[in-house]
């Protein structure tokens, strides 16, 4: 087996108000592997994502590309692990689509010509070629979701972590999104409630409930286990 690009070992996190969100998570992600992170509301999916991005600090060990995630290397590792947040209005914070997609590459210190190249390339990847001058608040939700993915793709990460990328989309926008995600070569950890999308896109599923991993295995086996899904609110 190849060295995992993400390795989470016995990670715990308690919010300041005392709520225990994660109670010892173990998880690994091989390069190029596409994994679903499912679980009911409050299972700890979003918390785990914030920890992976180094935006929250918990106990336990998170290794990204074999490197322990610390205050010191977090900025370097963020370039290799891109996070797409749930609400695209949070992710798209600039007036135009161009500014937003250029944000990551710009902060990575790339020269201007390359920033422009990356923006055009990333928008093309998500099927939004030519959207540079568009205003973010004039996009449809489906376009916003894809633009949010482009903002992260522009940094050319090796792992993509997505929080509910398909929530609230109509069937057509959802199909387009699935097509976009399927064509991406990166390893992917995708948190969602959308079991149909999981079945369609992600060969492996990790089921989270109450801050622990309750199942981890091939999607087909987990999704056909009706009793398991019902016990854990899916």
């Amino acid at each position: 087996m190849m060295e995992p690009c993400v390795e989470v070992r016995d990670v715990r996190f308690t919010y300041p108000d005392g709520r225990e969100a994660l109670r010892g998570i173990n998880l690994h992600l091989a390069p190029g592997e596409k994994v679903a992170l499912v679980g009911p509301n409050g299972a700890g999916k979003s918390t785990l994502i914030l920890l992976l991005a180094g935006l929250l600090k918990g106990q336990g060990s998170i290794r990204i590309f074999g490197e322990e995630l610390t205050e010191k290397n977090v900025r370097r590792l963020r370039a290799r692990l891109g996070v797409v947040f749930q609400d695209p209005d949070d992710q798209l914070f600039s007036p135009t689509v161009f500014d937003d997609v250029a944000f990551g590459p710009l902060y990575a210190g790339l020269p201007e010509a390359e920033v422009r190249e990356r923006v055009a390339w990333a928008l093309d990847q998500v099927g939004l070629a030519g959207f540079e001058k568009r205003l973010s608040h004039h996009l449809s939700l489906g376009e916003k979701k894809r633009a949010a993915i482009a903002t992260v793709l522009a940094m050319q990460p090796e792992v993509l972590v997505l929080d509910e990328p398909a929530a609230g989309l109509d069937p057509r926008a959802r199909r387009r999104l699935i097509a976009v995600l399927r064509d991406l070569p990166q390893a992917m950890l995708l948190a969602t409630h959308d079991l149909w999308l999981v079945e369609e896109l992600l060969p492996r599923t990790v089921l989270l409930n109450g801050g622990t991993v309750v199942a981890d295995g091939p999607t087909a086996a987990i999704l056909t286990n009706k009793r398991l899904l019902e016990t854990h609110g899916l």
Partner: protein, 245 residues
């Protein structure tokens, strides 16, 4: 759902639209400065300025009615200058009942001149906003060396004004949807209603605050390090490059 009414830009292909924003922005500021420096009762200068504005409005094709309607919104603010009517020494015209305040002719002229000057300035700003997309204005400000933090903050303000307005609209709709009046008229005292409105304003603030935290997280996740970094030049659209040629 977008609140497009907030978007002041009116797309067009006129000469005014196509003019480079780096020219439009300083010209507008210069116009406002010159109007502000005009002495009281300089009617000819006021008239010429208004004529210039009408000419530009006509050339831009955004419609004089639109410019007037939007500019009128600023008129109530000129009431702040109302005190000069009484505070300027001059020939007394009329004393308010009670004898404390006296209207002078010089005061009246000064007030009228302030209102006219404000209205001229606002029209110029409205015209600029109606013929220039906001990102182009930001870009022009950058090119003109306005501090980058200020430009970045204006950009955020512009971006989240819409999100905030949408959120406020959703709150209002939710209240509206539950404000049934079975007896034909709505219930609740003024105090109670004020309390509901206050709670809505509070929840809007909390939501914005939480959103700002999430935005900051999204910025950090993409490498933000506390320093505002901008590209030297944003690619100009067809509109602007045509203006240069």
């Amino acid at each position: 759902m977008h609140i497009n009414a907030l978007d002041s830009y009116r797309p067009g292909r006129s000469r005014v639209h196509r003019l480079d924003p780096r020219v439009k922005l300083p010209l507008t500021l210069l116009f406002i400065l010159s109007v502000a420096l005009m002495p009281d009762r300089s009617w000819v200068a006021f008239g010429l300025s208004q004529g210039l504005l009408l000419l530009v409005t006509f050339l831009s094709g955004v419609g004089a009615g639109l410019v007037q309607r939007r500019s009128a919104v600023a008129l109530p603010f000129t009431l702040a200058a109302l005190t000069v009517i009484f505070a300027t020494p001059g020939h007394p015209l009329w004393t308010l009942p009670g004898g404390l305040l006296t209207v002078t002719d010089a005061g009246l002229w000064r007030f009228l001149s302030i209102v006219i000057r404000s209205y001229l300035s606002v029209q110029a700003a409205v015209l600029l906003a109606a013929t220039t997309p906001f990102p182009d204005l930001l870009w022009a400000a950058r090119a003109l060396r306005v501090p980058r933090t200020l430009v970045a903050v204006s950009g955020f303000l512009y971006r989240y004004l819409f999100v905030l307005a949408d959120e406020a609209q959703r709150l209002l709709r939710a209240r509206e949807a539950r404000s049934a009046a079975p007896g034909g008229r709505g219930g609740g005292s003024v105090v109670w209603r004020a309390r509901v409105t206050g709670a809505m304003a509070g929840s809007l603030f909390i939501r914005s605050y939480e959103r700002s935290e999430r935005i900051y997280a999204a910025m950090l996740a993409r490498g933000y390090d506390g320093e505002v970094r901008l590209l030297k030049y944003q690619p100009l659209g067809e509109e602007a490059s045509l203006g240069e040629g």
